[in-house]
């Protein structure tokens, strides 16, 4: 009886955790899907006046560009850092590297935004631009990419590495022939999760990379963009304009679909790794 009591109590307490994901998702879909089709198809942001914004294509493009740029900048550094950890570092350096990564993970994204504002926007005179946003997002996802790939390399059985060494493989050959074939699903999983993260960050790019309207395709890396995340933020505040709020919900749906697709891709790859 006592046991059943305790279990019931636990389940009661846990109920919000069971219901919230479904409730949030269903509510967003319920609000967003009806607005989705015409929000996607009509007009372009150039033609739209304030408050009657339609067609989310420029925003989607902007978000994807920021995400891709961030990954392309962060991935080589993360991989290089991982190889340093695995091949060149002594124990103290390893500890220091992981310590720094833990430290970076803990810093709130908006602080990265502030630093980007000081260094990139003002000191390097990049202005409010696509490149600024890419670099800031790259720094934000760097620690998660690096820690993930360090774990991936650590998980390769040491016998494999030892065997390769015994065969006289150089570092480069070891990486190409042994490590990459064994670790690529894990590395890709990390990359996909990093992309999902870059796609959902809003605060750090709000005042460093994006503008409200007027961009369909950025002229250069030094032009600002529009993004789905920041667009959603602006529209969320337009409570008195029903149309804008509908589009905000539609943007939320698109954003969640993109992020979820990336996470699903990541878990699919994780399963390959486990089965393979």
């Amino acid at each position: 009886m006592n046991e059943r009591c305790a279990k019931t109590l636990t389940i009661m307490l846990a109920l919000p955790a069971l219901l919230l994901p479904a409730a949030c998702l269903l509510y967003i879909l319920f609000k967003g899907i009806p607005a989705l089709d015409w929000a996607m198809l009509s007009g372009s942001s150039q033609d739209a006046a304030f408050g009657s914004i339609s067609a989310l294509w420029p925003q989607i493009t902007g978000s994807l560009l920021l995400m891709l740029g961030a990954c392309l900048l962060a991935a080589p550094v993360a991989l290089g850092g991982t190889l340093f950890y695995a091949l060149a570092a002594n124990i103290r350096q390893r500890k220091a590297l992981l310590g720094i990564m833990h430290l970076l993970v803990g810093i709130p994204p908006i602080v990265y935004g502030l630093c980007g504002l000081i260094v990139l926007v003002h000191m390097l005179h990049w202005g409010i631009s696509l490149l600024t946003g890419m670099v800031i997002l790259a720094v934000i996802i760097l620690p998660m990419l690096l820690m993930n790939s360090v774990n991936a390399i650590k998980r390769i059985p040491s016998e494999k590495t030892a065997a390769a060494r015994a065969l006289g493989l150089s570092n480069g050959q070891l990486i190409r022939r042994v490590w990459l074939p064994a670790a690529w699903p894990a590395l890709m999983t990390g990359l996909l999760l990093g992309m999902a993260r870059a796609l959902s960050e809003t605060a750090p790019i709000l005042f460093t990379a994006t503008v409200f309207s007027g961009v369909s395709w950025p002229d250069s890396l030094f032009s600002p963009v529009t993004s789905l995340q920041t667009h959603l933020f602006y529209l969320a505040q337009e409570g008195a304009n029903a149309e804008a709020v509908d589009i905000a919900w539609a943007s939320a749906v698109i954003l969640i679909i993109l992020v979820t697709a990336l996470s699903f891709g990541a878990s699919a790859l994780r399963n390959i790794r486990m089965n393979g």
Binding site: L79, G81, G99, G106, I107, P109, C115, L117, L232
Partner: protein, 284 residues
């Protein structure tokens, strides 16, 4: 070539930290120099009168985070216990997927949900002048940090060895005694890390908080009044950063908010990291 790439990458990671903290300190230096640590005690923030007190925002940040934890810790722990100790295997991964879904929802979407569901609910049910307040921010944050606590607790519980579970069972301990005397104490270091990470996340969350907190620079009066609009460090930065000219005292004060936020969250994540380090050392 390989060597150069490796070393450059490692150096970049190190430089990022140095550059970030360095420039935050440099830019906020005029502010600290001007007033010392006095503004930490004052709640008056009037940029045009050159009054930059941080107390209201600091208190607001901590209140919001505390509310979030007060809700998320019991719920997250119960959910983790339920998924590992009560439900059969397939349900476990389903609950975990649910949590990962919740964790994947971008914060600005939570802001939208807060603005359109939470605020009207609070306003009409509690008969408030406005739903914009610390309670709203705390409730929203509790949903956002719930996955962190739940997932970390679940991992920690799964790592309690079956040997210990069997011993406890053979001693004739009941389900709840096993939970309280064996499982939770054994898993505590991991749970603690989860809670600290959640605290850091709650303190640093910007978009969702900014949309619902009301942005009033006022210390809650009386101190437990959570139903009035307030301010947090993050929402202050988010709201005012665009309008402060680079190099002005206002800009410097906002950078001080950022530096403070960075230092607090770094301390918290270091505490969490040291903890998790110890577990892995102790593990056979």
């Amino acid at each position: 070539m390989l060597n150069l790439w490796m070393r450059t990458s490692a150096l970049i990671s190190l430089l990022v930290v140095v550059v970030m903290l360095g420039f935050l300190l440099q830019q906020s230096w005029p502010y600290w120099q001007h007033d010392g640590l006095n503004p930490l005690l004052s709640g008056d923030w009037y940029p045009y009168e050159h009054l930059f007190g941080l107390a209201a925002a600091i208190i607001g940040s901590f209140w919001a985070a505390l509310i979030a934890l007060a809700i998320a810790i019991p719920t997250g722990l119960a959910a983790a216990v339920m998924s590992t100790e009560i439900l059969p295997g397939p349900w476990r991964s389903l609950m975990r997927s649910g949590m990962e879904l919740l964790a994947g929802i971008p914060s600005v979407v939570y802001g939208l949900l807060g603005l359109w569901i939470l605020l009207p609910l609070l306003q009409s049910n509690l008969h408030l002048l406005t739903g914009h307040n610390l309670l709203a921010a705390g409730l929203l944050l509790s949903v956002m940090v719930l996955p962190t606590i739940m997932v970390m607790t679940q991992d920690a519980l799964c790592e309690v060895s079956s040997h210990q579970r069997d011993t406890a069972a053979s001693l004739g301990m009941g389900w709840s005694a096993r939970l309280w005397r064996v499982l939770l104490p054994q898993a505590w270091p991991g749970i603690r890390s989860g809670i600290l990470l959640a605290l850091g996340r709650a303190l640093g969350e910007t978009m969702a908080v900014m949309l619902v907190v009301g942005s009033m620079d006022r210390i809650p009066d009386p101190w437990y009044n959570l139903l009035a609009p307030a301010q947090t460090l993050t929402s202050r930065i988010g709201r005012e950063i665009g309008e402060s000219a680079f190099g002005s005292m206002h800009f410097s004060a906002l950078m001080a908010c950022g530096l403070l936020l960075a230092l607090i969250t770094i301390t918290i994540s270091m505490l969490a990291h040291i903890r998790s380090d110890k577990i892995s050392v102790n593990r056979p």
